[in-house]
Symmetry: none
Subunit: 207 residues, 2 copies
């Protein structure tokens, strides 16, 4: 019943790479269920500086493009397609109606928000405490430079040891670098993709 | 019915200033409804560095002291009483049960989380985009307002810790504020001299 109602009030949408789908609180286009492709969710400062908060991949749902469904969401994010992306766009008004009636849908929404909240907290802790993004970027640049190639062979464990960090922290940050298209990582190999962006990452203390 | 169930599974609790109520994900003491006083919610880095995320005042509810009610909350916060505080402590298990059954309670929880998320996003934007002069001015104004006087007792060290900065940075900025006649500083006391100019300083950051 609810499922049918959602389906009836959703439509299939394809967007091209680089297209801005959502821009702050003034628009409330609805929830976006990614079918294929990738969306980037970010904040923009008054000076136009962007910070990527997280990415949405297959089966992920973008909640904040429907931020009008909750009165207490008092912040703006922007959403952009990072490659050609196919999605279902679900009416905010209908979703809100169903969420108000159904504990299951409301709890699901809760979990969705908690997931995004966790990603933002992770990012903030990295930025505030460790400057681990800058440290890892600087470290990798040095290693690439020593190796005199674009590819180095190192395990996450080794990098963690050298930076006095934990393997889990390094793995997650490398994953973040990958989604930022700074490097590619495969079977113990790390390849530099964007030296310029990596140098910016290393130099920018972000504070 | 739900209200009765919650009341039966809650108890009245008083804590002294400085008491740590909740410490990361390993404990899940339940939701805290503040009746009087003030709770500080903060994160702690591996090195023991603290960042204040937000404060909870009268009628505010602390959700993350019951983070076990949601699987997707993947971050730890600590909660401490900033002054003698009186509260109701509500069982996490009972709240979770009610939240699963009731759309109203689930949606209320959603709004609670969205409120905290908004505060954290605000903080992150301060940290990422704002300059330290504006951040410190905004922080001091808030402290003066909490203290309800023109004089607060805080060391540079404490301020630095709360802002995720270094004591040297804070001392230098306080000195700058003094020379601008915004405040006077003497032996652990900071006195507000020019609230208007201080507010301009805090707002200037938005440029």
């Amino acid at each position: 019943m609810q499922k049918e109602m959602l389906e009836m009030n959703s439509f299939h949408r394809c967007v091209k790479k680089g297209e801005r789908l959502h821009n702050g609180a003034e628009d409330c286009i609805g929830l976006l269920l990614v079918l294929s492709g990738r969306l980037r969710v970010f904040t923009v400062s008054d000076e136009g500086k962007e910070i990527t908060l997280y990415r949405l991949l297959d089966r992920d749902i973008c909640l904040f493009s429907a931020s009008c469904i909750m009165a207490s969401i008092q912040f703006d994010v922007a959403v952009e397609a990072e490659c050609d992306t196919e999605m279902m766009q679900i009416s905010a008004a209908i979703y809100q109606k169903i969420m108000r009636e159904s504990a299951a849908v409301a709890n699901y929404t809760n979990e969705l928000m908690a997931m995004r909240f966790s990603e933002v907290m992770w990012l903030m802790e990295q930025v505030l405490y460790k400057k681990m993004d800058a440290r890892l970027a600087a470290y990798l640049l040095e290693e690439f430079s020593y190796a005199e190639t674009e590819t180095i062979h190192m395990t996450h464990e080794e990098i963690a040891r050298q930076l006095g960090s934990a393997r889990e922290v390094i793995s997650r940050m490398l994953k973040y670098f990958m989604t930022e298209n700074l490097i590619s990582v495969s079977r113990g190999k790390i390849t530099l993709l964007d030296a310029e962006a990596m140098r910016r990452m290393a130099a920018d203390s972000m504070r």
